[in-house]
Every structure is written in structure tokens, then in C-alpha cells.
Assembly symmetry: C2
Homo-oligomer: 311 residues x 2
């Protein structure tokens, strides 16, 4: 197996690209895919500072690494979910990464914001696995970006993540979710920052290879709550389809973005307003995060706090 | 397990409906689903004669049976694909079915129309498995219906078939195919008959149970060419999703029809014209069937017939 670029010994074969690369040329390929993503969706400029949401895993630390290498101004945001040792270890990885590269790392604790760590939140809410956590993360990312003055948050979602999310939305034809499935979500309100996914062109295998070849020290364990998550089941299905026809995931996601997404774009976007409790954007009167926090609070002190005591 | 209707011993459990039925009440359920399909999509009236395309399998003979029982005027159409013993046996089943119920059965031979039986056509064309056969069947169904004066052709496609087709179209976001995915395709040209699928609300398990309980003598073997077909791989994926969450196929297909299909409907339908060779409808100058027949003809007599000798 020879590198497509230099003919030297390849370290990685990319079947869907019908190509193989040596280590330096794979990293070049990776960087180019990120550059192409940023350019095609005008994700951010070199004048902006990008807030990179990092979990300590290969994707988000790989993303932060490639952005630093490309010369972008960045800062990190670590959301401490309070998931036992998993959170402690992943926080350590992020802090070590940031310190070694002299980058700012902001840390937000979910427990402080929602009133309990994620394991306890999971028990209180009837939302399916990952749902309350995802909601909290999106909320805190936006709040932290606004608080520290960043106009854009970048997340480490890769091609496999995006294809699996799309697959889930398509199985139920969730037209709302389909209209929001995009590598770049614009700011549609002064209190809503841009959200971008510069790794959406790269598969999970590719982000893992990048992190390995760049010697990034990341947390290998998956979140202990992700076991049995629907998104993992969908990833398995897509992996099987990919085995049979390489490029299946890419074609599914990119075909959607090119040909089908326009059909689902809202003619009239949902008007956003400010939550009456926290002031962050919401489509209703009280935002979903404040409802969740209220649920947690009532669960913790069921007898002493009346249902409306939050206000 | 008790019948939902009468409390008697159930013979079949339908997990996606969270119900079980005894034999007579399952047949009642089946008939009602067909009636609902016909009504919801105004497939045909009691004044029309429906041409039922039959292959000798459980779905199409089950469809013909339920339509006869419901008192519709029907006739059968058997397309002889010339696939060795498989075609002989399936033709026998159709002829015996029609004779026992005193129904007209029209027979068309693919070999006569396209110039060779399907096994030979498969070798000549580069189209993937089932593609040339599907094209020939759709063409001959329409031609036979026009020739014998039927305004509507009904096929035995069930929920699993329709969900698998949708799945394939979605994986590649084939927007043309998505716009045509419907239980009822209207006539958009005087030489194009309506095509309807009254079994689209019923799963493969349900059509098999109906054929069994109604003691229909059908061909159990699958077409020998279907092995390895993409549609079978897609059916497997959907079966796995169905196992995990009963109703997955139904939600996928019906969610599409309810929520997403309108997004893919063409604002300006493709104008149809008559093929310059055969006079049947086509979007171009020469229809796909005549192109295929020409390919077959040239392959059979490569030295004596010039490429344009067809005219």
C-alpha cells in the first residue's frame, strides 16, 4: 500500500476515497478537509476567536489541534458533566492539552447550572439517554460563548456522528431536525451564537487516525451512559452499509446536504425570544433548560419547595 | 395470546399494532387495511375493472384474492419472464388461481417483447440485478393495460417492499425516485395507466399470513436472480430496526408519505411524450424499453444488423 501523494509506505487506507496516505500526507489531507469545510460554509474568519467545545475525546481535541496548527485564534470550553471518573479524566486531558499549547480553557460545571450532575439529572427526567445531557451542553455552550464574547462555537462532530443523526431524523421524518441538520448553524438572534462542525467531512476512523498520528493524549473510553444509545445502533447500521459499499455514509450525508436539505428549509423560521427565567433564547416562554433545572430542583427538595418557587 | 376482537385463541401477533388476532379476525383486519388504502388514495372504483399484476407469489395472489372477495371487478396479468422452472411454476400457480375463481388472466411473454428471456437480458445489459427486469415489467404492465382497456394496474407491493425502496432512495437522496414513491401513481398522460399498491399498509409477515390462512397456493421460492439484490440487503437492515422498535418500518414509510413527500413533489412534472419506436410514453425520444430491446437485438446478431437497423 503506497501513499497516493509521495509513493512512500502508506499508514492508512481510505476506501471511500480509494486512496492511501503516509503519515504526513494523511495529516495534510485531514487539514485540507477541515479547511474545505470552513471555507464552504464560511464557518469563521481568522479575525474571530473560535470557542472549541472539547470533551477530552479524539474528535474535539483533534479539531482544536488542527485549528491551532492552521493558525486560527482559539479558546477551549470544557463542560464538566459530573460523570464520576469519566469526567475527571476527560477534564485532565483537556487541561493538559490546553496548557501544553498555551491556550485558554474555560470550564463550566453542569451541576452548578442545572442543579445536579448528569447521572442524577438522568434519573429525574424521563428524556431518553443522552437527551438531557445534549440539551444541557448546547445550552451551556451558547451561554459560555455569550458570557466570554465568542461569536462562534465549534464542535467535534464527525461524518459518522452527522450521518447517524441524519439517519435517526430520517427514520422518523423529523422535519424540524432535518431543517437544522447542517455543518453550520447561523446566528438567528443576538443571543444565539453560530455553531459549526468543521470535521463533518471526516469519518470517525479518520479523526482517530489524526489524533493518533498527531500524538494527542485523549480519553479513549466512551461515556458510560452512551451504552445502548440509539445513535450507536444507527452508527452500527451505517457501518454495515459502509462495509458493503464504501462511501455510503458520505453519500447519505452529502446527498442530503446537496439535494434534500433545501426541501426542508423553513420558509418562515421559528421566531426566537428570551426565556423569562434565564434570558437565553427559546421558542416558548420558558426554555427547555430552565424546565429541566426546575425538574431537578423539585426532585431534590420535594416537600419544601412549591412547584412555582423558582421565580 | 388472545384475539383482540373476540377473545378467542389468536393465531398471529402483530407487535407493531400491539394486537393479536384469530384467523377470521385477522382476515377482517387485512381486508380493512386494503379497503383503507383504496379509499385513502382513491385507487379505483367499483365501476372500473382492476388489472392485477400477478407473479404467483403470496403478495400478488393475496391481493387478487382480497379484491375478488371485496367484490371488485378484476382481471389478472401474468408476465412470463422466461426464468426457467421458476417462471413455469409461477405461471401454473396464476393459471390455477384464475381458473378456480373464474377470472380472466392475460399472459405476456417478456421474450416476445424484448427479444430474449430475462436470464439472457441480464447478461446483455450492464444494469444492476433486477433493474432490466423491473423496467420490462413496468413497461409491459402499462402496455397490456392499454391494449386490453384497463385504466388501472394494481401490484402486490407490501409495506416491507415500499419501505425498502424508500430506504434505497434515501441513502442516495434520489429526489426523482422520492417524488414517485407513492401508493398511487396517477395517470399523467393518455397512454399511461394509473398504478396502485393496495397492500402498502400490510407487512410481508401479514401478507404471508393472509395467503396461508386463505389457503392460497402460491410459489414460495424467491426469484433465483434476487439473491444479493440491494433491496434484500435494505430489507435486512429494516428488519433489524423493526426488531429493536416495532413499527419502525411503518413509521419510516408513513412518516415520509405524511411529512416529507410533499417536499419532493415536482412543481413542474416532467413532460411525457410518445416513444418514436413503440409509441409508449417516455421523457425522451426513445423509451428505455426500446433501448433495452435494441441492445438485446444487437447482441443476438452482432454482425448482420447495423446499430440503426431497428427503424
Amino acid at each position: 500500500m503506497k501513499c497516493r501523494k509521495c509513493g512512500g509506505a502508506a499508514v492508512l487506507e481510505l476506501r471511500r476515497h480509494n486512496a492511501a496516505f503516509c503519515s504526513p500526507h494523511f495529516i495534510e489531507f485531514f487539514d485540507k478537509q477541515v479547511a474545505e469545510a470552513i471555507h464552504a460554509h464560511r464557518m469563521f474568519t481568522r479575525e474571530e476567536t473560535v470557542l472549541v467545545a472539547v470533551s477530552g475525546g479524539k474528535d474535539s481535541l483533534g479539531l482544536w489541534d488542527t485549528l491551532i496548527e492552521a493558525g486560527y485564534r482559539t479558546a477551549g470550553l470544557y463542560l464538566d458533566l459530573g460523570i464520576y471518573d469519566y469526567s475527571k479524566e476527560s477534564r485532565d486531558k483537556c487541561e493538559a492539552f490546553a496548557a501544553a499549547r498555551r491556550q485558554t480553557l474555560h470550564v463550566e460545571r453542569v451541576e452548578e447550572a442545572v442543579g445536579a450532575p448528569i447521572p442524577e439529572v438522568q434519573k429525574v427526567t424521563r428524556r431518553p439517554t443522552c437527551s438531557a445531557c445534549g440539551l444541557s451542553k448546547r445550552y451551556l455552550m451558547n451561554r459560555a460563548a455569550l458570557a466570554h464574547g465568542y461569536a462562534v462555537v465549534a464542535t467535534g462532530h464527525n461524518l459518522d456522528d452527522e450521518a447517524a443523526t441524519l439517519f435517526g431524523s430520517v427514520l422518523h421524518w423529523q422535519t424540524d431536525a432535518l431543517s437544522r441538520q447542517s455543518p453550520a448553524l447561523p446566528s438567528t438572534h443576538v443571543k444565539l451564537v453560530r455553531r459549526v462542525k468543521p470535521l463533518y467531512r471526516l469519518s470517525e476512523l479518520e479523526t482517530a487516525a489524526y489524533a493518533f498520528l498527531r500524538r494527542i493524549d485523549y480519553i479513549v473510553d466512551e461515556c458510560p451512559f452512551s451504552k445502548g444509545a440509539t445513535s450507536l445502533a444507527h452508527k452500527e447500521v451505517l457501518n454495515r452499509l459502509e462495509e458493503v459499499s464504501p462511501g455510503a455514509k458520505h453519500n447519505f450525508l452529502f446527498g442530503f446536504l446537496d439535494k434534500a436539505r433545501p426541501a426542508f428549509e423553513r420558509v418562515h423560521p421559528v421566531p426566537l425570544q428570551e426565556c423569562r427565567v434565564c434570558g437565553q433564547v427559546t421558542t416558548g416562554d420558558l426554555c427547555a433548560f430552565c424546565k429541566l433545572a426546575d425538574q431537578v430542583k423539585r426532585h431534590r427538595t420535594p416537600l419544601t419547595v412549591a412547584p412555582t418557587a423558582r421565580e
